[in-house]
């Protein structure tokens, strides 16, 4: 736990640094009178039709869901990779390899099934 104290201290410092930059810019920058046209969203000379908080293509949700699945599977390999050397030295190399092999086979099957079923195609 105490390992994370410096991380917290640095994060606070960086956030304060960022705030300081924004504050300095607001002090040194010119101030002009705001107007409706100036404060409107950037567009190519047109009126903004509607708010952006409406529709997002479904592909992004699918990508996110697939990412969560695969990322958890990959994170699961980290402790295995860490322990691999120790198991080989203890003479249990084939055991730990085959134990993970089953998981990897499912992983590979899942990935290729997804590619085959066109879930990963971007239209």
């Amino acid at each position: 736990m105490y390992q994370l104290v410096p991380v917290l201290a640095l994060s606070v410092f960086v956030a304060l640094f960022g705030l300081l930059l924004v504050f300095l810019a607001s002090r040194f920058g010119p101030r002009t009178k705001p107007s409706a046209v100036k404060q409107s969203s950037y567009e190519c000379g047109l009126e903004v039709e509607k708010s952006t908080t409406t529709k997002i293509p479904i592909k992004y949700y699918l990508t996110a869901i697939l990412f969560i699945l695969f990322d958890i599977e990959i994170i699961f390999m980290y402790p295995w990779a860490l322990a691999f050397g120790d198991f080989i030295q203890a003479g249990h190399g084939l055991y730990i390899f085959s134990a993970m092999g089953v998981f990897l086979a499912i992983f590979v099957f899942g990935l290729f099934w997804e590619i085959k079923s066109r879930a990963l195609d971007w239209d």
Binding site: P6, L10, T52, M77, M100, L120
Partner: protein
């Protein structure tokens, strides 16, 4: 952070110094980028302000600060200000966890009528036991900054840019995470400093249970993980949103992507985040595959002895050793930073479906193959065959 007030304050100052170093490298990198692009495109680049155009950086900084603070009327004010600050965080926190040089040993000494010491100062912000997992976790938080910026701006260009950015970052994170499994299988550690210390000396490995050494090559990770190195390099290009993967800010279609509504210092903070990410990526490449801060064929002890032999005290020699090794680390990082610039001005941009296809259908299967082949090879080579 330390046992007494001196150690704690030095450790804190060190973290701040590393963060400011990162911030200071940004204008320098922008200069390298401009001059480099000019070199590649057969132009001159900025060369008027100061020697070689170097003081252009200072002028830019002043200009950034004296721009008007502007918030669009329809945006979410709080999130709009939060996004650039969040953009600064991941790179700074991740870069501090990477060892930049050999630890400095300070002997006990008298100061202000008090005995201080002995200390060991790591040449990094902090040592986290699960170094790699920590850096991966923290640097993937960068997606939040882009998403916040895109959402808060209430502009369709920003939102599309942010969506593309986050989809791209999470897609390439899989290949990134998986290509690191290979390096974990070889080194069997999460800690950066242990990984670096395993890369000292000439190339030596187990060949069917027997130790083989090749004296004319350094013991670098690249010789064990050539495919992993290429995959990691390609994935970090996508993670940093640099060309050829800079779809989030494809200016021909999206104006400027997620920072369309940003200007002045707030946009500059996104730049600091992006270049900080490049720095972290280069440091990771060097630490995993190119021996970290070590100079090939020379151990830190040899450098230390060299300085001790010249009449320097133990503390001084240790400090000088750390500085020499730090220079070696920076020379290696500089090569990768140049590669980032070089690639940006050489390759054209992908189309978005090509980008996603490359991430999911090419890099992920190859990273998986790399993991399986590495596991089989490690198992075959390291098992005892007698």
């Amino acid at each position: 952070m330390g046992t007494d007030i001196l150690e704690i304050s030095i450790n804190f100052a060190k973290m701040v110094a590393i963060f400011l170093l990162m911030v200071q490298l940004v204008p320098l990198l922008v200069w390298v980028e401009r001059r480099g692009s000019a070199l590649i495109q057969n132009r001159l680049g900025p060369n008027r302000v100061g020697p070689l155009g170097l003081t252009q950086l200072l002028a830019d900084a002043v200009k950034f600060l004296t721009k008007e603070e502007f918030v669009p009327a329809k945006s979410h004010r709080f999130l709009f200000y939060l996004a650039p600050i969040v953009a600064l965080l991941p790179a700074a926190v991740a870069f501090n966890a990477i060892p930049l040089s050999h630890p400095i040993e300070v002997e006990a000494f008298e100061w202000l009528g008090h005995t201080w010491g002995p200390y060991t100062f790591l040449f990094q912000g902090y040592e986290i036991g699960i170094g790699i997992v920590f850096v991966l976790g923290v640097s993937s938080l960068a997606a939040y900054a882009l998403l916040l910026a895109g959402w808060a701006s209430d502009n369709k260009y920003s939102l599309i840019g942010a969506l593309r950015a986050s989809a791209q970052m999470i897609s390439y994170e899989l290949a990134l995470g998986l290509s690191i499994v290979g390096i974990l299988l070889v080194f069997n550690t999460f800690s950066f400093s242990e990984m670096v210390s395993q890369q000292v000396g000439p190339l030596s490995f187990m060949f069917f249970g027997q130790e083989v050494s090749i004296p004319f090559l350094p013991n670098w990770g690249i010789f064990f993980q050539p495919l992993g190195a290429i995959l990691l390099l390609a994935a970090v290009f996508a993670e940093t949103n640099r060309l050829p993967f800079d779809l989030p800010e494809a200016e021909a279609e999206l104006v400027a992507g997620y920072h369309t509504e940003y200007g002045g210092i707030k946009m500059n903070m996104f730049y600091i985040g992006e270049y900080g990410h490049m720095l972290v990526a280069s440091a990771l490449m060097v630490t995993f595959y190119f021996g970290g801060y070590h100079i090939p064929f020379i151990t830190p002890d040899q450098i230390n002895e060299f300085f001790s032999g010249r009449g320097h005290g133990a503390t001084q020699a240790s400090l000088l050793t750390a500085l020499v090794l730090h220079l070696s680390f920076f020379a290696k990082i500089a090569v990768f930073l140049w590669v980032f610039v070089w690639v940006r001005w050489t390759l054209p941009r992908f189309r978005y479906d090509q980008l996603m296809d490359l991430g999911w259908k090419t890099m992920l299967p190859w990273a998986l193959a790399n993991t399986i082949i590495t596991a089989i090879l490690v198992l075959m080579m390291r098992s005892s065959w007698s």
